[in-house]
């Protein structure tokens, strides 16, 4: 199939305004009759549902948590980018666009990224108007910090809880629409099937997670905002419930899945401590503003107390290898460097799978500055330390507390131990410029689409993209489809398509419950995660990927013969929910390996060991792989079909990414 990205005409800076001026509109009296379903209440879904409600559509919004405010976006820590140039350091929409395309290793669509950079400034305005308490300077104006992969300071933040504050903003807007009767919220509901009538999206089947009831919901269009799929690795920084089910249901109904193998491994997470481990905890990238990453130079020092290792015996390897960006290199680069150090046997900690993140220089620097502003002459070392720790506490207090609670070590005194962990998925449903999937009437927003981040996302850009999609892009672009639907009557949920979809959902649930095997859902999930981490993780090779595909197929077979799901279908049953999600992860895992195997190059988060430069850096193949790999479902047990969207770069010159 020929993929049409529907990129508007005109120079890149004018595409979005041209589009908006020409997009078809839906009259207010028609909007009221038009029903839109939004799956997800995170930044993307919450913002979209609220805005669609404000515009006058009849909206139904679904989430599996007990409240829309608990979507996984709540956990984002570090910040959100916007090209406001409040710091007067030379930022602009073009620079944000450039940084994002370069950071993504030239594997994203220019027009989308430019639009993202343009609307980024509106997001900050909107959030401040909603009462989001961003960090401020003493003069009362908004504060900024820097994030990896860029040389300007454009990240807005609310201490270490930026996602929480942004989501509470979207949740408040959503709550207002719920109160106004424009949005009907379905908490503790899980979408389990997409319903199509005559080739168009006409609704969903959802399970009420409290009663187990299977419900039919009709609509004129469905917007997925169901988040990322990092949990395919079992251990990740994602919330326990994050899953790929909505995406996989759509995929099986004809929505293409783009670049599934692009996974972001975040460099600064608390290392794994044991088999029982259920999730990994992120230590925000903002810490790399002030923390310096190092390992001992000598193997003899590996188990020494790090404070006793003198400066000259430490290898600040990021500063050494990448002098231009130092500790602020992008995530993929920092993660690979940490892995390389640990693989070389230079890792620290119990398992040897950790590097230090050290704040002592920052504490000293801030302490001296604070002593200076407070007019303390000749401050003692102790005084400096105390003042410096206060500054660090005000910036990262909650993260330091979290670290101490988990590891029982005080990071103000001993350097943190960190290691990379799965964090974000750049892949997702393929969407065109309008955020429409290959299925008419089905849209995808936020982390669940293949997004604007190419092969690697820069820090603080997911929140930006989620809110850009939800507040400013989708509510406009969906009008172009809905304008053609004003004569379509309300969906009849007794239509045979609904009956059949409901039956397939029920059959699937009964199948899971009746296997009554010997292994728990978690057993399978853990095994899948291990295959993925070892063979489709931070670095990959053809042989490993081929093995992984076979192993996953075998695991899937075993799952469907030997999983044990306790309880019944018509009650609150978390194990049943998990079973359905793991079944979808098993299918996704195989697809990710196929995609990774197909991409014979290294780009961003996708690092193929066969394709590297003599210095060990990622080696892209622009001639053969400057495309989006969009996978098409071909039916149960059949190999998926590869479709390509060729990427053209008119406004940026393709270069080897260098942070040296």
């Amino acid at each position: 199939m020929k993929l049409d990205a529907k990129i508007p005409e005109g120079p890149i800076a004018e595409k979005w305004s041209n589009y908006r001026s020409n997009v078809k509109l839906v009259a207010p009296n028609n909007k009221r009759r038009i029903e839109v379903i939004v799956i997800g209440s995170g930044l993307a879904g919450g913002a979209a549902a609220a805005t669609l409600g404000e515009l006058g559509y009849s909206v139904k919004c679904f989430c599996f948590q007990d409240s829309p405010r608990r979507a996984h976006s709540i956990a984002a820590q570090g910040g959100i980018n916007a090209a406001k140039n409040y710091q007067n350091d030379g930022d602009s929409a073009y620079r944000l666009f450039y940084d994002t395309v370069k950071g993504g290793d030239y594997r994203s669509r220019e027009a989308n990224v430019y639009r993202l950079a343009q609307v980024s400034t509106n997001i900050i305005d909107q959030c401040v108007a909603q009462g989001v308490p961003f960090a401020r300077e003493y003069g009362g104006l908004l504060a900024n910090r820097s994030f990896g992969g860029v040389q300007v300071s454009r990240t807005f933040y609310a201490r270490g809880q930026t996602g929480q504050q942004l989501l509470l903003g979207a949740y408040s807007a959503l709550s207002r629409q719920i109160a106004a009767g424009k949005v009907k919220m379905y908490n503790r509901h899980e979408m389990l099937e997409l319903v199509m009538i005559d080739g168009k999206t006409r609704g969903i089947i959802a399970r009420n997670l409290i009663t187990g009831e299977i419900e039919r919901h009709g609509a004129h269009a469905v917007v997925l905002a169901s988040g990322g799929y990092g949990n395919v690795f079992y251990l990740s920084t994602n919330a326990m419930g994050s899953n790929v089910t909505a995406n996989m249901k759509a995929y099986r109904k004809g929505a293409f899945f783009a670049n599934p193998c692009y996974t972001q491994i975040h460099p600064t997470c608390i290392p794994v401590s044991g088999h029982y481990q259920s999730k990994l905890t992120l230590m925000s990238e903002s810490l790399r503003n002030d923390g310096r990453v190092w390992v001992p130079k000598s193997k003899n020092d590996l188990s020494k107390n790090p404070n006793q290792i003198p400066e000259e015996d430490r290898d600040y390897y990021l500063e050494r290898i990448y002098p231009a960006f130092g500790n602020l290199v992008p995530r993929d680069v920092a993660s690979r460097a940490a892995k390389y150090m640990c693989d070389k046997g230079m890792g620290v900690g119990k398992t040897g799978l950790a590097v230090y993140l050290d704040f002592s220089s920052a504490i000293e620097r801030y302490g001296k500055a604070a002593a200076n502003t407070q007019n303390i002459d000749n401050p003692s070392k102790k005084e400096i330390e105390k003042l410096g720790k206060e500054v660090i506490e005000s910036k990262y207090g909650n993260l330091f507390e979290m670290y101490q609670r988990i590891t029982d070590e005080n990071p103000y005194d001993t350097p943190m131990k960190i290691y990379p962990a799965v964090h974000y998925t750049m892949g997702g449903l393929w969407v065109d410029y309008e955020l429409g999937t290959t299925v008419p009437g089905l849209y995808a927003t936020g982390e669940c689409n293949f997004s604007d981040h190419g092969a690697n996302r820069l820090g603080a850009s997911a929140l930006m993209q989620g809110l850009a999609d939800g507040y400013f892009v989708l509510p406009v672009t969906i009008g172009s489809y809905l304008a053609g639907e004003i004569r379509t009557p309300q969906t009849d949920t007794n239509h045979p398509a609904f009956v059949e979809a409901e039956k397939s959902v029920k059959d699937n649930i009964n199948k899971l419950l009746n296997i009554k095997g010997d292994k728990s859902v978690d057993d399978f999930h853990r095994e899948l995660g291990l295959i993925m981490w070892n063979k489709c993780g931070m670095s990959r090779n053809a042989q490993g990927l081929q093995e992984a595909i076979k192993e996953i197929q075998a695991l899937r077979k075993e799952f469907w013969n030997n999983v044990y799901v306790p309880g019944t279908a018509d009650e609150f049953n978390p194990e049943l929910e998990k079973a359905g999600r793991v079944a979808d992860f098993l299918d996704l895992g195989e697809l990710m390996c196929r995609d990774a195997l197909n991409r014979n190059e290294s780009a961003g988060g996708h690092f193929r060991e066969e394709y590297r430069t003599p210095e060990g850096e990622a080696q892209r193949d622009d001639e053969n792989y400057t495309y989006v790999a969009a996978w098409e479902y071909a039916g149960e047990g059949k190999e998926p079909i590869l479709n390509k969207e060729e990427l053209t770069f008119n406004d940026i010159e393709l270069k080897t990414r260098s942070y040296k």
Partner: protein, 252 residues
């Protein structure tokens, strides 16, 4: 570590429910409390028994989903810590640990340790927002906000909506939660136009949803995992008095 767990089991909202005893073994100090429950549940599943249902998602202390009363204390023994961030270092070998759901008329039990907290959403829907449509905003820096006010607003906005304050309160009052939201918005200039209407409507919904009044016992503040302080209730009361006496706003 070996522990004896006494856990509240209740099949659904109609069931009466009771405490059941479960021994667990092989618990290490660096496990989180929920990972300890995972260990128990995996054992129950292996024995073909019904695992314990509990709410959780982020396991990072931010989503507000986890909610267990542990040895009589909402979120357990550590101060300023959610259930998911509590670690097994807090216990010793041989301990007996009693685990119950939030108990409050406004939070009915769904199953075992899972309760229904939609009453909190209804309080927010009654006015916990600023009425600004997407696209209506002016430039973010056009209105400087005093740093101290912004910080105080942040402190109040840090509430995760977990409901521990209600579970801790002898009156099952939701005033700390409500006070936090009212304070967050009252401290910001953007919240000013709807200030009176907001507090009146939110307070009314709080009462209608069956939450009790505040008698200043302070148990909420002591158990709140996010350090939401009682000054928020004081501010709520001031805002309420100011609105009830000084305004012509009608409560919806």
């Amino acid at each position: 570590m070996k522990l004896t767990l006494k856990i509240w089991r209740q099949r659904n909202s109609n069931d009466k429910g009771k405490l059941e005893t479960y021994p667990v073994d092989g618990i290490t100090t660096d496990m989180s409390f929920l990972e300890m429950i995972d260990v128990l549940n995996q054992q129950l599943i292996k024995d073909k028994k019904d695992p314990v249902a509990f709410d959780h998602d982020c396991r990072e202390g931010i989503c507000g989903m986890c909610s267990m009363v542990i040895n009589g204390r909402p979120h357990g023994p550590w101060e300023g810590t959610t259930t998911c961030q509590l670690h097994m270092r807090a216990f010793k070998d041989g301990d007996t640990v009693v685990i119950e759901p939030w108990r409050a008329a406004s939070f009915p039990v769904i199953k075992d340790l899972v309760v229904d907290r939609t009453s909190f959403d209804k309080i927010i829907q009654a006015g916990g927002y600023i009425s600004v449509n997407t696209g209506n905003a002016v430039d973010a820096n056009s209105l400087p906000i005093d740093k101290t006010n912004a910080e105080d607003a942040f402190d109040a906005a840090a509430c995760i909506g977990c409901g521990a304050c209600v579970a801790a309160c002898p009156n099952s009052s939701g005033m700390l939660f409500l006070g936090a939201k009212v304070s967050h918005l009252a401290l910001l200039p953007q919240g000013e136009p709807e200030r009176e209407k907001r507090v009146l409507n939110m307070m009314k919904t709080h009462d209608d949803e069956g939450f009790g009044g505040c008698t200043n016992t302070g148990a909420c503040e002591a158990e709140c995992p996010k350090g939401i302080s009682l000054t928020n209730i004081a501010r709520l009361n001031r805002e309420y008095m100011r609105a009830a006496i000084g305004s012509e706003e009608e409560v919806r």
